[in-house]
């Protein structure tokens, strides 16, 4: 694909969604035909508690421009506590990556319940806009293995 | 000179399972995709090759066919890790890569005229198979050939048909065993070192070659000594981790030996000098 310029830059965002709230919320956005940008690609996990913050690192290394982790609102976790664990882990990881020079706009987290199809759209839009504003993530990408 | 790190492409002619289980064994019969490679390829019994798939990795295996078997190479591979798992997924028609042949060989020329005893356990029969095959294909050059082989169960026996065929043919004296009693098993029940004592090969003018798990080797060597074999008459192969196969990467060293270059075949007399060989 052609070089991304700031104007045409379409960020690639990997999202980790918990099965019970956010994935269902994203499904609801679909059933409600709520349109949103196609930049976010979802990995489904059962709970945000499963998401290892090092996954963020892997995604960025692989070339993702941003990462989103989304789960149930506090207190609503299907497994009671998973989102609380995730919140701690990601709070720390996000601050740490910022300290290394990774814009915080690239590492986002949200609470989207199964009923919040429209919130999912807003989250996606906000994350995409945020990443667009900081541009492509090149510095940490694995060097291309040119054939 | 050819870059020794670049492997040759081979095509699988046939592939089958020798033994089941978590650590199952699969045999691949392959030929070079480019027939011209046959002109530069020559291996001798005991020699090894790096076998692998780009994107997965490479591992060292002995060539389990004899050079007297023309037009193909055989590899019998136990599933132990990442690379072997990927190889096990392959079937006839699939392709992988091979480079070699590497290492030294069993001194079959020196052994001419002697009685040969092979003692193998489990997948350890793979390096012995080319020796047996080579001798059978040059039957007149050698004395008696005694094959001693055992595995955990009858299902775990590698090269089953070939043993049957040898027994039928009668040019080989074949002793087989399994570790624990099984219904309908007509042969010995017990471990290979015991089977060796049972078979009681004579040390005179004989060479013993043994391959198998380290614990088996340990007791086979003891029992060969009991039977009167001298260290110079006993040969085995070493298997260390290898990466380059050509004496550079340092991984396979056992004391001063580069197993990939100086080995894999060693006489017991040689190994006795190298304490790390049995580590």
């Amino acid at each position: 694909m052609a070089e991304n310029t700031r104007e045409t830059f379409e960020p690639n965002i990997v999202a980790f969604l918990c099965n019970w709230c956010s994935y269902a919320g994203a499904d609801l956005a679909g059933t409600s035909r709520i349109h949103y940008p196609s930049n976010v690609k979802v990995v489904r996990v059962m709970c945000t508690g499963r998401v290892n913050p090092l996954f963020v690192m892997n995604a960025l290394q692989q070339g993702a421009d941003g990462v989103l982790v989304s789960g149930c609102h506090p207190g609503d976790c299907h497994y009671m506590q998973g989102n609380y664990y995730a919140r701690r882990r990601f709070t720390l990881m996000r601050r740490f990556l910022e300290y290394l020079g990774v814009e915080p706009a690239r590492v986002r987290m949200s609470w989207v319940s199964a009923s919040e199809g429209s919130k999912w759209k807003e989250v996606v839009e906000e994350v995409v806009e945020g990443v667009k504003a900081v541009g492509p993530m090149d510095q940490f990408k694995r060097r291309q293995l040119n054939w | 000179m050819k870059n020794p790190y670049i492997p040759y492409l081979v095509e699988i002619l046939d592939a089958w399972y020798e033994a089941p289980g978590d650590r199952c064994i699969k045999t691949f019969k392959v030929t070079f995709a480019d027939p011209a490679v046959w002109d530069v390829w020559s291996h001798r019994p005991g020699q090894c090759a790096m076998v692998g798939i780009p994107g997965v990795g490479e591992s060292m295996f002995c060539v389990s066919s004899s050079p007297t078997e023309q037009g193909y190479l055989r590899f019998s591979i136990m599933k132990t890790g990442r690379n072997t798992s990927a190889l096990h997924e392959l079937e006839a028609g699939d392709r992988f890569y091979v480079r070699g042949p590497y290492g030294n060989t069993f001194p079959l020329d020196e052994w001419k005229g002697k009685n040969i005893v092979t003692i193998g356990g489990g997948i350890g029969q793979a390096p012995l198979r080319p020796v047996i095959q080579y001798i059978r294909d040059n039957r007149d050059d050698y004395g008696e050939l005694t094959v001693i082989y055992g595995a955990r169960t009858s299902a775990d026996h590698c090269f089953k048909q070939e043993f049957e065929e040898m027994n039928a043919c009668g040019d080989v004296c074949c002793h087989l065993s399994i570790d624990v009693e099984e219904e309908g098993w007509p042969h010995f029940v017990g471990f290979v070192p015991q089977l060796l004592l049972e078979a009681e090969p004579k040390p005179d003018n004989a060479i013993a070659v043994t391959c198998g798990p380290p614990i088996m080797i340990k007791f086979v060597l003891q029992n060969l000594e009991k039977l009167g074999f001298q260290p110079e008459q006993v040969y085995t192969t070493l298997e260390n981790r290898m990466k380059c196969g050509i004496g550079k990467c340092g991984r396979c060293n056992a004391g001063p030996l580069y197993v990939c270059k100086d080995g894999p075949v060693f006489s017991y007399a040689q190994l006795k000098q190298v304490p790390e060989a049995f580590a």
Binding site: M57, L92, L100, R108 | -
Partner: protein
């Protein structure tokens, strides 16, 4: 400073005990001002033991570093205790190791050394280059007194003190069976101004700063291996199945390595500073660990390695944990 004769006397007593198999302490190094770990298995060996401001190593690492090759059939593992000398900072490693159930408290005999600071050996060697014959360093008031080649030099402590000691909150061991000296009062404060300064830079500056440091990394893993908290049986960073991080050395993989290492120490690093000390290419690893440390303290009011009763930071949560960044 610890009375060396008393130290040896205590050590002799301890190692003579039937239930103690090993005492880990310090002995003079092979050259210059260095001191190094000593592994004492009998009373005869205690004569070489010392404790001086040159005793920089965190010996707690050895409690989890021991390799356990297959035990011969029928052999019984030696369950006798291990005695270990610890400074204030080192003692926190013991606490954290126990929080993580690396061993039970009664596995140890802890010889606590209240510590007023160790030297940064690189500073010493830069100041007195070319000293081969064994020199000694002692603490006298606000100075270090260095003796070598028949000479004696006095240097204000602050000039040679290791950075971590300048911020030491816990100079007296938090856990010990035998305290070898009087308690040392906290003589320094840690305001994390170094971290705050870096935090204040722009993302570009930060990335440039770290990229330069990480590009030097040769992935010798000394930072990992020396760390008293890094003792996984099988480090995920060495794994091939799955590959978390490639072994090839370049800025991307090096950065991944340092992120992984630092993250795995979040809420666990006890600030002994060993990783930064051993790095042959001077990557300021503590600036990574300290970032987590600072955040963890600010956000969760948590300091690892203070109480064996603590719950590991990331194995717990509070409903009230901050979440201002969450959409």
């Amino acid at each position: 400073m610890v009375d060396q004769a008393k130290l040896r006397e205590v050590a002799r007593e301890v190692i003579s005990r039937e239930d103690v198999r090993l005492l880990i302490g310090y002995r003079p190094g092979t050259y210059g001002f260095r001191a190094r770990p000593a592994f004492v298995e009998s009373a005869e060996q205690v004569e070489e033991l010392v404790f001086t401001p040159a005793c920089v190593s965190n010996l707690a690492s050895y409690l989890v570093l021991e390799e356990k090759p297959p035990l011969p059939r029928g052999a019984e593992p030696d369950n006798r205790k291990v005695a270990v000398m610890v400074k204030g900072c080192d003692s926190r490693a013991l606490v954290q190791q126990m929080v993580e159930k690396a061993y039970e408290r009664d596995h140890l005999v802890v010889l606590g050394i209240p510590c007023s600071g160790v030297v940064d050996m690189a500073r010493v060697e830069a100041r007195f280059p070319g000293v081969l014959s064994a020199g000694s360093i002692i603490r006298e008031g606000d100075d270090f007194v260095l003796s070598f080649d028949g000479k004696t030099e006095k240097v204000p402590a602050a000039e040679l003190l290791a950075d971590k000691c300048k911020r030491c909150r816990y100079p007296t061991p938090l856990v010990s069976d035998i305290m070898l000296d009087d308690e040392v009062e906290r003589f320094a404060e840690d305001d994390f101004s170094d971290i705050a300064e870096l935090e204040g830079k722009s993302v570009e500056e930060k990335w440039a700063y770290w990229a330069e440091k990480f590009s030097r990394c040769i992935r010798c893993y000394s930072c990992r291996n020396v760390c008293p908290m890094c003792y996984c049986e099988d480090c995920i960073l060495d794994r091939l199945k799955p590959v978390w991080m490639r072994r090839s050395v370049d800025i991307s993989e090096n950065t991944a390595f340092h992120i992984s290492r630092a993250y795995h120490l979040a809420g666990r690093c006890i600030q002994c500073g060993e990783c930064a000390r051993v790095c042959p290419v001077d990557i300021p690893l503590m600036e990574l660990n300290r970032k987590f440390y600072k955040d963890v303290e600010e956000l969760y009011d948590y300091e690892p390695g203070l109480s064996t009763e603590a719950t590991p930071l990331l194995s717990t949560f509070s409903v009230e944990d901050r979440e201002d960044f969450i959409l």
